[in-house]
Symmetry: C2
Subunit: 172 residues, 2 copies
DNA sequence: GGTGTGATTGCATCAGGTGCAATAAGAACG
DNA sequence: CGTTCTTATTGCACCTGATGCAATCACACC
């Protein structure tokens, strides 16, 4: 990430990354499926925490509340490093292929969350809609928080959820 | 698309495509930014129709209804060719890089729709949430329709919108 | 000290993608 | 009809990402 930030994502080659890590290009591809993946190792861990939290969520909670709670819980370790999140976000925004990969990761996580919501009793359709809503709420909250970290990520999530409810409340 | 369907996306090279079209690899890249884009020429045209329709939508409609109406209107020309949509969908699903590109296109269109909803008077936040909802509803409807085309795409959209409302109604 | 296992590497190879300069193909014009 | 201007096509050199395979290195374990 340091290399990417300094020179830009496109300007850094896989050989550069490998050299920085004291390895060869070939070894890089033993650890990461492609150049993009190196930016998403943390995201994979985050997904695991989300799914874990959702599995432990209060069964009484409505699907949307449960999903948002899981995101909130999983995001707790990130809350102390807004600068890191901002740098990562800027990097992703700077490269189309990173944006694509990011969307893919989010979509994949959304699908898995939906599956767990289904296991909690929601219909597949409801689970899919609610999970998509939770993803939207979470990414919106992160964007807000990254720009104004002072109130904390948790508050940003609660705020985004509330705004989502009032935005969709009129229409639904 | 015929080549992709016959041999699979990965197995077909850009040189193959160019040869089939009576051109060279270099000329292919004069027409398409990359190999993936060749699958999304129609999608770009669809986006244009969505934005155009939304511009003409009844100003009295609530944001979500306006957006969904625009998708419905823009999708009319597709309604007669469910087989084509199914083949295209299967192809995209078969390739991770096509999925990524598809998500990117949808995200980009979602952002543009949100902008137009903003121009209709919605707040940026409401516009973003509603536009994301409309995208979810539309893609869900297309999936449904592709599997059971007999009731028509328009009915599938209306149905998905209704299901969205009832799924989010309890939570919102 | 020997052995087995996994990580690392070198190498060859391929496909996607780009910049640049040359050239072919026409359309427009006198 | 011939010229000119524009645009599409091409060839070529070159780079990066990515993969398969075989060799080898490091090292924990017995």
């Amino acid at each position: 990430m340091a290399l990417f930030i300094e020179h830009g994502y496109d300007a850094v080659t896989v050989a550069d990354i490998a050299k920085q890590a004291g390895l060869t290009k070939r070894s890089f591809f033993n650890h990461f499926a492609d150049k993009r993946e190196v930016m998403f190792a943390a995201a994979d861990a985050f997904e695991a925490r989300v799914l874990d939290a959702l599995g432990r969520a209060d069964p009484e909670l409505e699907p949307l509340d449960a999903a948002v709670w899981a995101y909130s819980k999983a995001a707790e370790p990130l809350g102390d490093y807004p600068d890191l999140a901002r740098a990562r976000g800027a990097l992703i925004e700077s490269s189309a292929e990173l944006q694509e990969r990011n969307l893919m990761k989010m979509a994949s996580m959304t699908a898995k969350v939906a599956e767990l919501l289904g296991a909690r009793g929601a219909s597949p359709r409801e689970a899919a809609f609610v999970s998509q809503a939770a993803t939207t709420i979470f990414t919106t909250a992160v964007d807000d928080w990254v720009q104004q970290p002072e109130h904390g990520l948790d508050a940003a999530i609660r705020n985004a959820l509330s705004e989502f409810r009032s935005a969709l409340g009129a229409a639904v």
